[in-house]
């Protein structure tokens, strides 16, 4: 392959990205070494004080991280399994195929900032339809105001909103699978379950891994859902890292500290995702 061509393809995108990002990222690093806040704006230099603080004096950040891991793993897992199932079901012949396919795409097209307000009205404990339904059984679950249920509500909303993402990727993947392996399996006498386990699933492995990784990245940034539905409450029981970073940054205006939190978060996420990706490869390609 000609030496020149590969750079011709890669560089425009790469350089544009790098060019625009280099200042913000550099600034963020510099910011994390300062104590920029509402009262002292400006880049003074305090060394690694922000980092020391977050490692030794900020249990709330690490709790938020734990909660985030817990919630994003669950949501992504649910989104993957449901998304895959749905994609598989509308892949081949089914009545109203086009209708279902388009319908299943719609939730992710809603603007989170607005849709979460709608969800808040849906789950409103006194005035919403969900509890209206439950009141028929005499219970009033506290969807947004109990420690356990608030997490569940956030997960429900996230699953509703982002399963279409998995659904679309996996459907596209299924549609571009070659026919040969399936024909071969049929000839071998394999039924639908064996076909799925031994042909479909392994062939879909690369795209599954890609989908899961990107979904994990996006799920970790979950902000609007938590902010609108529960404000991280009750107490701190539904606070996630991105919510905490947001509060520290744009509400309390501790930008310097928020930058340190973000960079730490970034590094931890990169490391975790690399590990997870490798694990998934082993898990899925094994078959």
């Amino acid at each position: 392959m000609n030496f020149k061509h590969k750079y011709l393809f890669l560089l425009p995108g790469f350089l544009v990205l790098l060019g625009i990002l280099i200042f913000p990222i550099g600034f963020t690093v510099r910011l994390s070494l300062s104590s920029w806040d509402s009262f002292f704006p400006g880049l003074d230099f305090i060394g690694l004080e922000n980092y020391t603080r977050l490692f030794t004096d900020d249990p709330r950040f690490w709790e938020a991280f734990q909660r985030l891991s817990f919630m994003s793993v669950i949501t992504v897992f649910l989104q993957y399994t449901i998304g895959f199932a749905l994609a598989h079901m509308v892949w081949k012949e089914i009545k109203f195929q086009r209708f279902f396919r388009v319908l299943f795409l719609i939730p992710m097209m809603t603007t989170p900032v607005i849709m979460t307000v709608i969800w808040k009205t849906v789950f409103h404990e006194s005035l919403g339809p969900v509890n209206d339904f439950f009141s028929l059984f005499g219970v009033t679950p506290l969807w947004l105001s109990s420690e356990a249920l608030s997490k569940v509500t956030v997960i429900i909303v996230e699953v509703w909103q982002w399963t279409p993402f998995m659904f679309l990727l996996l459907l596209a993947g299924l549609l571009s699978l070659p026919k040969e392996p399936f024909l071969a399996a049929s000839i071998d006498g394999a039924g639908p379950i064996r076909k799925f386990v031994y042909v479909t699933f392994p062939l879909m492995a690369p795209i599954s891994i890609g989908a899961i990784i990107i979904r994990l990245i996006e799920a970790s940034k979950i902000m609007d859902t938590v902010y609108v539905l529960t404000s991280g409450g009750p107490g701190t029981s539904s606070e996630t890292s991105s919510f905490y970073i947001f509060i520290k940054g744009l509400r309390e205006f501790q930008f310097g500290y928020s930058a340190a939190l973000s960079l730490t978060y970034l590094i931890i996420m990169i490391i975790s995702l690399t590990i997870i990706a490798k694990m998934l490869v082993k898990l899925m390609i094994r078959s």
Partner: protein, 511 residues
């Protein structure tokens, strides 16, 4: 003193109402002020029409529509017509007002000539604001503003923010229950106590509990005790402070309420506050389902929609209840916040068993002009016009505008009876309650207005909401808050915080 105020208020009002009889050319052109016509003054419609600002542009960042957002846009339109200036208004949700203004300020830009916000932003953003010129401060229109509102918008004697709205916390209750002889008898029979406007928070809790969870207004829906702002967002800490003032603000102990002024030690985990938080945890039992997650909007929906017996934060819930199409119009009453039977004395380290009550002079909507604005005259004229007598009178009659009384001439019951169809007794009670808090109290707490105020408030919100959720006991929660406050003070610098806090303390201690 009170009598003087009453007389001068009546005089002003009489003249205002007399003016109302005149239809003038301005109210024809601008139907908004049809009730009063234009009222003479340096910033009246007449005066503004003489100014020519054509070719000049104003950019304003204000709250979402309609609360404060709609009047801003409306007055912008009127101002534009009168003076020829081009006025652009953008609307921002409440929680983002601060960041929307501060990010540009801190990045060295000033895209807005006028910024709207909450008056407790003052310490953080005053470095970017232009103080109000003396000519506006000395206008009759401004002199009519109550002292506490002038104080809340000033820093160390200098007016930094332009008063355009008034806010306070007060108790709101359902008259059709409290004044109902049947319920009074029932309550007396079952508890042995009088059913009346609660004088203390303990009474508040008892009554709320009694009326929690059954249909006492026969509308087919369950009602509950109290709607309060408990959601861990920007406003819950104010609800907490309102509940704690009676227990922790001792008129005999000067030198600080949130901190000890000398040492800058947080006082937030003292017994007075803990008592208030304990009450508040109790309250989670008499709020509607989901009440622990109520933001201000939910509280307004709840009390204003007839769901609860009590509410006690900003005006909005009362105003919503008194709208023409509200099912509980003229069924609600206003009263000062409950007090307490004992107050903590931190000097002697003991409870004093005396009745104590004090208003929490809560912050509210305000507006200010950016220092870097190139159109300061236009900007100040706009704000003056916004708050001119004619506009102000018209604004306070429109509930959804969110503009509430803050001028001495506002506290006249007849205005509400005539213009908004309020029951005369309710209007009288409302005016008296507000007047008492503004002008009559000698023991009060000013909002915390120190650098980094959001950090302190955020710490309170986190701590108290943990207590409400049952994750920590009230003492543990407040200890956590105090520890966090200590850290914040250390980070910002004790002297810096003390210097700012001293200003608020001076206002509290020199009444």
């Amino acid at each position: 003193m009170k009598k003087m105020i009453k007389i001068s208020t009546l005089t002003v009002t009489a003249s205002l109402l007399a003016v109302a009889a005149q239809a003038d050319k301005w109210s024809d052109q601008f139907p908004h002020i049809k009730n009063t016509g234009d009222i003479a003054g340096e910033c009246s419609y007449e005066s503004m029409s003489k100014k020519d600002y054509s070719g000049q542009k104003l950019t304003i960042n204000t709250h979402a529509v309609p609360v404060i957002g709609e009047p801003t846009a409306l007055h912008a339109e009127q101002f534009s017509k009168l003076t020829g200036a081009e006025v652009n208004v953008i609307h921002t949700p409440a929680g983002d007002l601060y960041s929307k203004a501060m990010v540009p300020f801190q990045a060295g830009q000033a895209p807005y000539d006028i910024v709207f916000g909450f008056s407790n932003f003052i310490r953080d953003w005053k470095q970017y604001l232009q103080p109000v010129p003396a000519k506006y401060v000395n206008m009759r229109q401004m002199q009519d503003v109550t002292q506490s509102h002038i104080d809340v918008n000033s820093w160390d004697g200098e007016m930094i923010q332009f008063p355009i709205d008034g806010d306070r916390h007060y108790l709101k209750y359902r008259k059709d229950v409290i004044d109902n002889p049947e319920y009074q008898a029932k309550y007396k029979a079952e508890t042995g106590n009088e059913l009346r406007v609660p004088q203390t928070w303990k009474e508040y809790g008892e009554m709320a509990t009694f009326f929690n969870g059954w249909d006492w207004d026969n509308d087919g829906e369950l009602e509950y005790g109290s709607a309060e702002v408990m959601k861990k967002d920007d406003l819950m800490f104010a609800a907490f402070f309102s509940r704690s003032v009676a227990y922790a603000k001792n008129p005999r102990v000067p030198g600080g309420y949130f901190f000890d002024l000398e040492s800058m030690e947080p006082l937030i985990n003292g017994p007075g506050f803990v008592e208030a938080l304990t009450d508040w945890v109790e309250a989670t039992k008499y709020v509607p389902p989901g009440g622990i997650n109520f933001g201000l909007g939910d509280e307004i929906n709840s009390f204003g929609g007839g769901q609860t017996l009590f509410s006690f934060s900003w005006d909005d819930a009362f105003v919503a209840a008194m709208q023409d199409d509200s099912p509980i119009k003229n069924k609600v009453g206003a009263a000062p916040l409950p007090g307490s039977d004992r107050v903590w004395n931190r000097s002697s380290g003991a409870w004093e068993n005396e009745f104590n009550q004090a208003p929490y002079i809560v912050w509210g909507w305000t507006a200010a002009v950016a220092k870097a604005s190139k159109n300061q005259d236009v900007a100040f004229d706009y704000l003056c016009f916004f708050a001119n007598d004619a506009n102000h009178q018209a604004d306070i009659a429109i509930g959804r505008f969110g503009v509430n009384p803050f001028k001495k001439s506002d506290f006249v019951p007849e205005l509400y009876v005539e213009r908004q169809g309020w029951d005369p007794e309710i209007a009288k009670q409302y005016a008296e309650t507000l007047m008492e808090m503004e002008e009559g109290s000698t023991n009060r707490v000013f909002p915390l207005r120190v650098p980094g105020v959001f950090q302190f408030n955020s710490a309170i919100a986190t701590g108290t909401s943990k207590a409400l959720a049952g994750q920590l006991s009230p003492q543990e929660a407040l200890d956590e808050v105090a520890a966090e406050w200590k850290k914040i003070v250390k980070r910002i610098g004790a002297d810096t915080v003390r210097e700012a806090y001293a200003i608020g303390v001076a206002l509290e201690d020199n009444l």
